[in-house]
């Protein structure tokens, strides 16, 4: 576009000289012969440049310039003063009013033409720069508007210079109008203030804003000082100092150190999405861990089943092969006992042989029992009743050994499907073990209750049987005051044929049979030592959720009552009858005892 230039002078000969100096050089030339006319033309035609005489009768050049600069429509017109007054004060005054140049008369036409050309170039570059600036601002605004992170620019005084829509949404428009010191929460203004105050060049923090109401709004805050120099990358070594004499970082002429520079840029990122993703990930992870655990349980059960299958076939074979010779010996001894007249010594020999035979038979029988624990005859039954019946069977031995029994049996237990015979076998075995451990004078504590399991209390057997923290379980505790179980025996308790009893006493199959029966009830048995005091502690768990509930509403509420009665998960015995002595009943001996 051709630059337009307004020539202003009250003396026509001067105007002609100016006109002739510039004519023919690709300018559009306008002419005014006084200050008032110059203003009028300037407002109408918006020239790019004005050559303005200072000394004019109606309105002098300084006044014209002042009025031009005061009006935004004409403020951008470049003014070159022309004057015979060449005092430095006049030149300074003209430039201070906004003039771009000051030329003293008499001037040389070539000089005028050269100066006008320079100013036209400057004007053109100025315009290009402004237009480029507007484009950049547009791009910047688009970028900032499309960001999900909030971006806030702060000046050195802590006033907001700009904020993108995300920042307004996260921090609130009201807060952005306040000075930094008034921002909430206090740690937000403190964090930003540290950077503004120069203590930090750059800082990252996580805060909870709660700006959009009562819901917590976790955000990540990144604050950088505007004049922050890029930190040296830790991986790349610092380049050697440039010998050409580049300004040294931190040198006095660094623009960052110039007075007035400062301020900070604040980037706020909403962490809720990230937390949602993390939570979802944790959930998936949990589900994965759970199915992994279930898989492991299923695998264990398969291995156990395969083992039982093998042991079962072996047991049946061994039993058959051993029982025949045992039968021969038994009947032979019985026959000889009938037909011979035995002296004292021979009678003792016969009695010893008979004992040995019984033991051998017991071992083989145990083996058969072990191999057969595969099916259950389930009927709804009360665990407490089974305990009481089993206690009666060992009552005689308890009294003989002077062992005190404390029962704490929860009163509101629902009935569960149990194989009564096999559960009695389990209970008898556990009671006998406890009695044998205590030998004489001790306390046997038996407690039942519905119990909400905590993950950390689950023993290895409970985990293997698929119990998880949070499950509702029917729990039976059996504690004795014996010497407890040696650490190196704990892992082997359930191994078939592991026994701590002297050779000949006990088959070593008791606990493995017991565990099989409990597992068949979808229960678990863990054996360890008591946390406090001497003695062993046996924990049996059965899934209470699997219990067939009575169809009436009463049945459901009785479970709820039993669970609600627990004050803390640590003690399940609070819903229990007061400690009682062993129930007095008819004296019966345990089967095979």
């Amino acid at each position: 576009m051709t630059p337009s230039i307004l020539l202003v002078d009250d003396i026509p000969s001067n105007l002609r000289i100016l006109y002739e100096s510039l004519n023919g050089r690709d300018y559009r030339l306008l002419i005014a012969n006084g200050g008032a006319q110059a203003l009028e033309i300037a407002r109408r035609s918006h020239p790019d440049l004005m050559l303005l005489d200072v000394m004019m009768p109606d309105l002098d050049g300084f006044d014209v310039c002042r009025q031009l600069k005061a009006d935004p429509a004409t403020a951008t017109i470049g003014v070159i003063f022309l004057s015979a007054r060449d005092a430095a004060a006049d030149k300074v005054r003209g430039l201070a009013l906004g003039g771009v140049d000051y030329v003293t008369k008499p001037f040389h036409p070539e000089e005028i033409a050269a100066r006008v050309a320079i100013h036209c170039t400057i004007l053109r570059m100025d315009r290009e720069l402004a237009s480029r600036n507007r484009q950049l601002e547009l791009v910047r605004d688009r970028i900032l508007s499309s960001m999900t992170e909030g971006v806030v620019g702060l000046d050195a005084g802590g006033q907001v210079e700009f904020a993108n829509p995300a920042a307004t949404a996260l921090l609130g428009a009201a807060m952005l109008d306040l000075p930094l010191a008034a921002w909430q929460p206090p740690d937000l203004s403190e964090t930003v203030g540290r950077v503004l105050g120069g203590q930090d060049q750059f800082t990252v923090a996580e805060l909870d804003l709660a700006a959009t109401g009562t819901a917590p709004l976790p955000v990540e805050l990144r604050v950088a000082a505007i004049n922050a120099r890029p930190l040296p990358a830790p991986a790349s070594p610092r380049p050697p100092a440039d010998p050409a004499g580049q300004p040294h970082p931190g040198g006095g002429d660094d623009p960052a150190d110039a007075p007035g520079a400062g301020g900070a840029v604040l980037v706020v990122r909403d962490l809720r999405e990230r937390q949602r993703v993390a939570a979802a990930l944790a959930e998936t992870n949990n589900a994965l861990r759970q199915s992994h655990r279930e898989l492991k349980v299923a695998q264990m059960q398969l291995i156990q089943a395969a083992k039982l299958e093998t042991v079962g076939q072996l047991a049946a074979g061994v039993a058959h092969e051993v029982k025949n010779p045992l039968a021969v010996i038994q009947l032979g001894m019985d026959f000889l006992e009938q037909t011979l007249t035995l002296d004292q010594t021979s009678a003792t020999v016969f009695a010893d042989m008979q004992q040995a035979l019984l033991r051998a038979d017991t071992v083989v029988r145990g083996l058969l029992d072990f191999s057969r624990e595969r099916g259950l005859d389930l009927t709804p039954d009360s665990l407490n009743r089974l305990i009481n019946v089993s206690l009666q069977l060992v009552r005689h031995e308890l009294v003989q050994r002077n062992i005190k029994v404390i029962t704490e049996l929860a009163s509101a237990l629902p009935e569960q499907p149990f194989d009564a015979d096999k559960m009695q076998q389990v209970l008898l075995n556990l009671f006998m073990n406890a009695m044998h451990a205590m030998e004489r004078d001790g306390t046997l504590r038996i407690a039942t209750g519905l119990h909400r399991l905590r993950d950390e209390e689950l023993g290895p057997q409970a985990r293997a049987a698929g119990f998880l923290g949070g499950d509702l379980a029917l729990r039976l505790l059996i504690e004795d005051s014996g010497p407890g179980i040696a650490a190196d025996h704990l892992d082997r308790l359930f191994d078939p044929y592991f026994s701590t009893k002297p050779m000949g006493e006990g088959t070593g199959l008791g606990l493995s049979v017991t565990r099989n029966i409990v597992n068949l009830h979808r229960g678990s048995i863990d054996i360890g030592n008591r946390d406090s005091g001497r003695g062993a502690r046996v924990v049996l768990l059965f899934h209470a959720d699997a219990a067939p509930l009575p169809p009436t509403r009463d049945g459901a509420t009785s479970i709820a009552a039993a669970v609600a009665g627990e004050p803390a998960p640590a003690t399940a015995q609070s819903v229990s009858s007061p400690p009682t002595e062993v129930p007095r009943g008819e004296e019966t001996h345990p089967a095979g005892g």
Binding site: H320, V322, A327, Q330, L331, D334, F335
Partner: protein
Amino acid sequence: MEKKRILLVDDEPALTRMLRLNLEQTGRFEVREENQSTRALATAREFRPDLIFLDVMMPGMDGDEIAEHLEQDPRLCQVKYVFLTAIVTKRETGRGTAEISGQTFLAKPVRREELLQVVDDLLGL
């Protein structure tokens, strides 16, 4: 009074011998041993026992197979029989015998008193 006749079928000669000695020692029974399961029916037809002891697991022919033939034979179907087995345990048979699907079982190792008791019960003595 005529002695009751008892046939013992088991593949283990030592066992049938011990059973025979104990039974004969009472002086009340005439006893025959048969250790070849496949010859059990022929021996039974010839010996005409009042009671037969049958081992369950034997090479050649199992005890329950022999029992089936006994029940189908018009001359033998009245004969009482009892299974003698190592697979049933004493606990399952209770004291001495067990009735499993209508059959009487005696668990090895059996004691002399149990043996005589079962014989008396079955023969109605």
